[in-house]
């Protein structure tokens, strides 16, 4: 999809705002929002690519203006409601209740095994690397062009590299293909390559930063021989 999240090269968004001595958490709700990602991922309510696609479907104005972890809440909420795990009306009623009674405590339930499982998952991670048996169609040093069509649904093919030509710098093996996995079509592992683009190729000689390059990671279906 051609979404507002695809920000590379967008102009007019102002200076970078660096917070001095920024804390890891700005509020308690951020901690809960953060934990909802692994908690629901482990329950199979979404995969990583579906999680990202949910964020991309926020209204563009809301996406640009809301605090970061609200993006997570948006996608978690959409997925748990769609999965039938959370009832939208009940969620709204409870939201109104907590708005009027912000100090009311959360339900109390203990589950030490779940705490241990979360710890183990954060420590071990879960790689998106998958064996595929597919031979790579490209090699380091190849000149390639990113296809410049505009797919519907989730893709990692950013607009600023579409139609652009670069050189393969690294080859990484096969990984879950987000254009498939986020769109309900299975993991369909594909080879991933790092492609290096000259700034002038991306932005034109006049606007480009002199002596700059951008590397962008592509799945094999994104590229063709140049």
């Amino acid at each position: 999809m051609n979404g507002v999240h695809d920000l590379g090269g967008t102009d007019g968004l102002g200076p970078v705002q660096v917070e001095d001595r920024e804390p890891v958490w700005h509020s308690d709700w951020e901690k809960a929002a953060f934990a909802m990602f692994p908690a629901n991922f482990l329950k199979g309510h979404f995969n990583l690519d579906e999680f990202r696609h949910g964020i991309e479907q926020m209204h563009p104005a809301e996406y640009l203006l809301s605090p970061y972890y609200e993006h997570w809440i948006h996608t978690v909420e959409d997925h748990v409601v769609a999965a039938g795990v959370v009832d939208a009306e009940e969620l709204e009623a409870r939201t109104q209740h907590y708005l009027k009674n912000p100090d009311e405590p959360l339900p109390d339930r203990r589950d030490p095994e779940q705490v241990a499982l979360f710890e183990q998952v954060m420590r071990a991670g879960g790689s998106a690397r998958r064996e595929s048996g597919r031979d790579p169609r490209f090699a380091i040093g190849d000149r390639v062009r990113v296809a410049d069509d505009s797919p519907l649904g989730h893709t990692r093919r950013a607009r600023y590299v579409r139609g652009k030509t670069g050189v393969i710098d690294l080859a990484h093996g096969t990984f879950i293909y987000p254009d498939s996995a986020a769109n309900g079509l299975g993991e369909d592992p594909q080879h991933v390559y790092t492609v290096r683009f000259d700034a002038a190729q991306l932005w034109g000689e006049e606007a480009a930063d002199p002596n700059a390059t951008v590397t962008f990671d592509v799945w094999e279906p994104y590229i063709e021989k140049a």
């Binding site: 890891v24 509020s27 692994p38 907590y98 779940q114 991670g125 990984f175």
Partner: protein
């Protein structure tokens, strides 16, 4: 029906207040606790891991070791994940890590223009500016200007700026150049010079005496 109001040019968006967000999250959390999906203890534990245990001090250990141990440096550049694992460092959002080395001709900087990808096991959770639209939109388009004007880092035009857009599941971090005058410093003191920003590529390591 008559009306004098013109419809809004885009669907109305009501941004939520901090209180409204907090109530929404609490409502979701309450339901998830009841459904066996999470507990408040699990939330506190996860939040505590990234507040107290996993952060840029871990990446700094990796960098300091690479500065002092040439064989480790080789292994780090060949397979970042395996080299970090030697030091017991790894996990979520660092399953496939690649260290990119600054030289006298190349300065590296990392970003994620599509979302917020960042190597958590070595850098912790990303700062807000890394996830916000300004950095993500501009660092690929005018990197020298962003580094100079927004971060006070002057990279001469004789040095190539290479921006790594983490668009797939590889997670990049920068191996910065070792500061001059640190030949006699032991590894643990070198690690204190390595900042988070120097591993993102928007800063340099500290000089000895400034740590």
């Amino acid at each position: 029906m008559t009306t004098t109001e013109s419809p809004l040019p885009v669907p109305a968006v009501a941004l939520r207040s901090e209180e409204e967000i907090a109530a929404r999250v609490k409502a979701l959390e309450a339901i998830m606790i009841e459904k066996g999906i999470m507990t408040t203890e699990a939330v506190d534990r996860l939040a505590g891991i990234y507040e107290n245990e996993v952060g840029p001090h871990l990446g700094a250990k990796v960098i300091a070791k690479a500065w002092t141990d040439p064989e480790f440096r080789e292994r780090l550049l060949a397979d970042g994940t395996a080299a970090c694992e030697e030091l017991g460092i790894g996990g979520m959002q660092g399953e496939d890590m690649t260290a990119v080395e600054n030289t006298d001709t190349v300065h590296n900087v990392i970003t994620c223009t599509l979302c917020s990808c960042y190597p958590w096991p070595v850098l912790g959770l990303p700062p807000n500016w890394y996830k916000a639209p300004a950095y993500r939109s501009r660092i690929v388009r005018e990197p020298r200007k962003v580094l100079r004007e927004d971060f006070g880092l002057d990279i001469p035009e004789s040095v190539e700026i290479r921006v790594w857009d983490s668009s797939a599941e590889l997670r990049y971090f920068v191996l910065p150049r070792r500061p001059e005058g640190t030949e006699d410093l032991p590894e643990d003191q070198l690690a204190e010079l390595v900042t988070r920003d120097s591993m993102i590529g928007v800063g340099r390591p500290l000089h000895p005496g400034a740590a």
